[in-house]
């Protein structure tokens, strides 16, 4: 396949069957390999869309500064677009994110502002909003509330899935900004009667929930509960175990958030299998495992890996 530039080469990712993890011929799992995007994650779709939309609206001009709160992948995607289009990028990142993400951001020439580990991405959002107020000329694309994030999935991920798997019954993806689930979910609901949209949400160590009080909680502006059928909270231990199963059973070297998604998908699959219902379950592999090697997720015992991941933002 040929593209004019790397920025045109996002999406169109493969959908591969997971025959060894599927419970039987009537209940099948299909993995959408989002690591096959220009910077290696699903976030290229949202980030490119957000930048293209901001350019179209005249918000971004050569030399502009982009500011974004991100735990990693969105920042890396924005860093690629920024470097090619001549923007400066400042990412506000919680300090408890993997070393590789920081190295990649720096390699692309982005700057990083650290936000405190306690409170996780909530703190990154708070710090970024503060910086945006101090620097009104900076452009915060704000992935949590930017309609172009969800639209990217409505216009690309959804149609790709429908075209590759017209008999799709379930879509399972990670819940972060909620953009993937909102956009893809809306598209599929409009085209596939009865389709189930299932969210898998990472459950981190206690540090990440260390808010000062409940009113500091956060629900992304993009989130619309009515798009989802169900939502599961997946512990770090379950996510790690499934990440390793994916590698061992199917040869798929995925990031830890994909283990989280697989855990929810296997739950859905077991339920369908138990009641003798046919199912074709598509699940999102948001990225590959490279960026998490330093976390020790793939080596030693599960208990050791889980202990190393305590307090880390792994999705």
């Amino acid at each position: 396949m040929r593209y004019d530039s790397l920025l045109d080469a996002f999406g169109g990712t493969p959908l591969v069957g997971l025959p060894r993890l599927s419970p039987g011929p009537d209940v099948r799992l299909w993995a959408k390999l989002e690591d096959r995007n220009p910077t290696g994650s699903v976030k290229d779709r949202a980030a490119f869309y957000m930048v293209f939309a901001a350019e179209k609206e005249g918000l971004l001009r050569p030399g502009s500064t982009i500011l974004e709160p991100t735990s990693g992948n969105t920042g890396i995607s924005l860093a690629l677009v920024a470097s090619l289009r001549g923007y400066r990028l400042i990412c506000v990142m919680p300090e408890n994110t993997s070393a590789e993400r920081r190295m990649l951001l720096e390699a692309y020439g982005a700057s990083i502002v650290n936000s405190p580990a306690a409170g996780g991405s909530n703190e990154a959002v708070r710090v970024a909003k503060g910086l945006a107020e101090e620097h009104p000329d900076w452009v915060m694309l704000y992935q949590y509330g930017n309609e172009a994030n969800a639209r990217a999935h409505y216009e690309t991920t959804g149609p790709e899935l429908l075209s590759d798997l017209p008999q799709i019954t379930h879509f399972v993806a990670g819940l972060g900004t909620t953009g993937t689930l909102m956009g893809t979910g809306r598209f599929l609901r409009e085209h596939v009667p009865g389709v189930q949209i299932v969210a898998a949400e990472p459950r981190y160590g206690e540090l990440v929930y260390g808010l000062r009080n409940l009113s500091e909680g956060f629900v992304p502006e993009l989130y619309d509960e009515s798009v989802l059928t169900s939502r599961f909270s997946v512990s770090s231990g379950d996510a790690l175990r499934r990440t390793r199963e994916l590698l061992k059973a199917e040869g798929l070297f995925a990031g830890i958030s994909s283990g989280c998604v697989l855990h929810a998908a296997l739950g859905v699959a077991a339920k369908a299998h138990g009641v003798g219902q046919r199912a074709n379950i598509a699940l999102m592999i948001a990225d590959a495992g490279w960026k998490y090697l330093s976390t020790g997720a793939y080596g030693g015992t599960l208990e050791e890996a889980e202990a190393r991941l305590e307090g880390q933002l792994w999705a």
């Binding site: 969105t74 991405s121 949590y144 819940l175 953009g179 808010l211 409940l214 629900v219 509960e225 939502r231």
Partner: protein, 105 residues
């Protein structure tokens, strides 16, 4: 001893409490409760941990009581908002996890 055993059997729903609400449970990470719905469970807990329910449930408005916006409650790892909210049925052996809503991405 016998009384204790009976009590434990009757109160067999485990409720995991997030750090920021442990001032209501005397520092306990996990407490036990009873009830046939989430609403009943929270009312039962409030009898022993006064004020806890008010941090989880908003019943100030004219609409029926519902979970507070920044509170997520999971019944055996599934978000209760998709299981009927406060009316979600619960039973012995279930685990209920309360967490503040945090950002991802």
């Amino acid at each position: 001893m016998h009384v204790n055993l009976v009590e434990q059997e009757a109160m067999a729903i485990e409720v995991r409490i997030p750090t920021i609400l442990r001032n209501y449970t005397g520092g306990e990470k996990s407490v036990q409760g009873a009830g046939s719905t989430l609403d009943e469970l929270f009312a039962d807990l409030n009898g022993r941990y006064d004020g806890l329910r008010g941090r989880l449930v908003d019943d100030a408005g004219e609409s029926p009581a519902s979970l507070r916006r920044f509170v997520n409650v999971y019944l055996n790892d599934e978000d209760v908002r998709f299981l009927g909210g406060l009316a979600a049925p619960v039973s012995d052996g279930d685990t209920v996890t309360v967490l503040p809503a945090v950002a991802g991405g």
